[in-house]
């Protein structure tokens, strides 16, 4: 029983990990087919996992409604939105468009999901301004450098800036192409070493926290 609970998951991880590491070096069609199929399996497994999420969501809001905590009415709104969308979606067979014509599900997508997404996304425009106001203060030498390069790039990217201070355009290109690439590259290399190390430890069974429980027993 201990074997099934502890060892079996580790063996599965090891076998899957080694197999799909080696898969990369094998160009044979069998290996290509294996990764295509197993990627599809992963999609199916995560499809099932949505039920875990749904159960959690239902539970959280059902508790709110049952106990009538302040704002429980909004939980009802959430249920209504969800069930309504599911009903419309199944009625339209999950298609947003049939032969070019918009279905009800398509209407729901175009006039609720799209504007809601776009609006939340566009709030970034406000937040990027308020973040700049708070953060870009020449508190220290590092902060001043941050401030200067941000202001130059902001100038160099729009016509008014290019018109008033023409050199900002060239400096912007240099900052983005050279300095920005250098830093990103270094961060990427560092991160990749960490990523490869963690993946290796998982495959070798040294890191097990993802299974819950202690790491190295």
């Amino acid at each position: 029983m201990i074997f099934l609970k502890r060892q079996l998951p580790l063996i599965i991880t090891f076998v899957m990990g080694v197999a799909f590491t080696l898969q990369y070096y094998i160009p044979h069609p069998i290996s290509e087919e294996a990764i295509t199929n197993v990627s599809k399996w992963m999609q199916i497994i995560s499809g099932f996992a949505l039920f875990l999420g749904l159960a959690s969501l239902f539970h959280v809001h059902a508790v709110k409604i049952k106990r009538q905590v302040p704002g429980w009415g909004y939980s009802l709104v959430l249920y209504a939105g969800m069930l309504g969308t599911i009903a419309v979606g199944f009625w339209s067979h999950g298609e947003t468009r049939v032969a070019g014509a918009q279905t009800s599900f398509g209407w729901l997508y175009d006039y609720t999901m799209v504007p809601l997404q776009g609006t939340m996304f566009s709030i970034l425009a406000f937040f990027i301004a308020s973040a700049a106001y708070r953060a870009f203060r020449a508190r220290s030498r590092e902060a001043s450098v941050l401030l200067a390069s941000a202001v130059i790039v902001m100038m160099g990217r729009v016509p008014l800036g290019q018109f008033l201070v023409p050199w900002t355009w060239d400096v912007t290109q240099c900052l983005l192409n050279v300095l920005n690439s250098a830093v990103r590259r270094a961060i990427l290399i560092g991160v990749s070493m960490g990523a490869v190390a963690l993946s290796l430890k998982i495959i070798l069974g040294i890191e097990r926290s993802y299974l819950g429980g202690g790491r190295d027993q």
């Binding site: 997404q117 406000f126 301004a129 308020s130 106001y133 202001v151 729009v158 016509p159 800036g161 018109f163």
Partner: protein, 278 residues
């Protein structure tokens, strides 16, 4: 004075929100038309279309969905206006299912404005699945790939497609792409094989990544983001949403820059004060 500076440093951020909203909204309602510097990569697209003879075939592919509409729709409108003005035959299509309705809307709108007729001066083929393989199919036989257009009219015998058999008969094509895959795909599966000239239009975020293609001549021009669209509008001397949008961009950037500068001024005024670091 210090009191004022202190209040300004800790200003309610809703004031900033209001300033940004104003800076974006005002130029949109009433553009003030700052001069726009045209870059060579945008000019290249304009020049190529300008040099095409009348009734040449121009293919415009809408490879984006509504989330990239703010940047790519103005590019589409400007290109269509130019093509219609030059009396080219325009074919439209999309690789993105979710972009179909948007693309059709743009076509109908610009065509109505330029008094062009569907089926005679332009055709919108709509969406078909496949991506790269769709391009190959179009390269073999356009009518097999799209037996009918978006409004269900059969494509064979359409006056606009007279003499067009496949992609080899296309004189120029532009892919407006929200992902780099759009332009790359058109190059790899289309231009490389069927030998038509092409250019790309893209969102500002992915434009820098497309410059290598431009340098190697894989695309002959590149329209990048809202700025690119505004440059194109300048070239065809017909101001549109992009030019207004660029004014809004400039205004918003300057509001932020001025805010940052002011904030630093106030900050330095306070820093002189001992024991009160903010």
């Amino acid at each position: 004075m210090k009191e004022f500076a202190r209040r300004m440093v800790g200003i309610d951020r809703r004031v900033i929100f209001l300033l940004i909203a104003g800076a974006v909204l005002l130029p949109l309602v009433k553009p003030f038309g700052l001069p726009i510097k045209v870059s060579p990569e945008v000019k290249a697209v304009y020049d190529y279309i300008e040099a095409l003879p009348e009734r040449s075939v121009f293919l415009l592919s809408f490879d984006f969905d509504p989330s990239s509409k703010p940047e790519l729709e103005p590019q589409a409108v400007a290109l269509l206006r130019h093509a219609f003005r030059k009396n080219l035959r325009v074919m439209g299509m999309t690789h993105w299912l979710t972009g179909t309705g948007l693309a059709d809307g743009v076509f109908s709108k610009v065509a109505a404005e330029m008094e062009k007729e569907r089926g005679k001066d332009y055709v919108f083929l709509g969406w078909s699945p496949g991506g790269g393989s769709l391009i190959i199919a179009m390269g073999q036989d356009l009518y097999k790939a799209f037996p009918s257009d978006y409004s269900k009219t059969p494509t064979p015998g359409m006056p606009v497609l007279d003499g067009v058999r496949n992609l080899r008969d296309v004189d120029y094509m532009v892919s407006l792409a929200a992902g780099s895959s759009g332009i790359e795909m058109w190059y790899v599966f289309g231009k490389d094989k069927y030998r038509f000239e092409m250019a790309g239009g893209s969102t500002g975020v992915i434009a820098p990544g497309l410059y290598p293609f431009l340098r190697s001549g894989q695309i002959n021009g590149l329209i990048g983001g809202l700025q690119g669209a505004a440059e194109y509008e300048t070239l065809i001397t017909q101001k549109g949403t992009a030019t207004a949008g660029m004014d809004a961009q400039s205004a918003a950037h300057f509001v932020i820059i001025i805010l940052v500068l002011l904030c630093n001024v106030f900050y330095f005024m306070l820093r002189g004060e001992k024991g009160r670091p903010s």
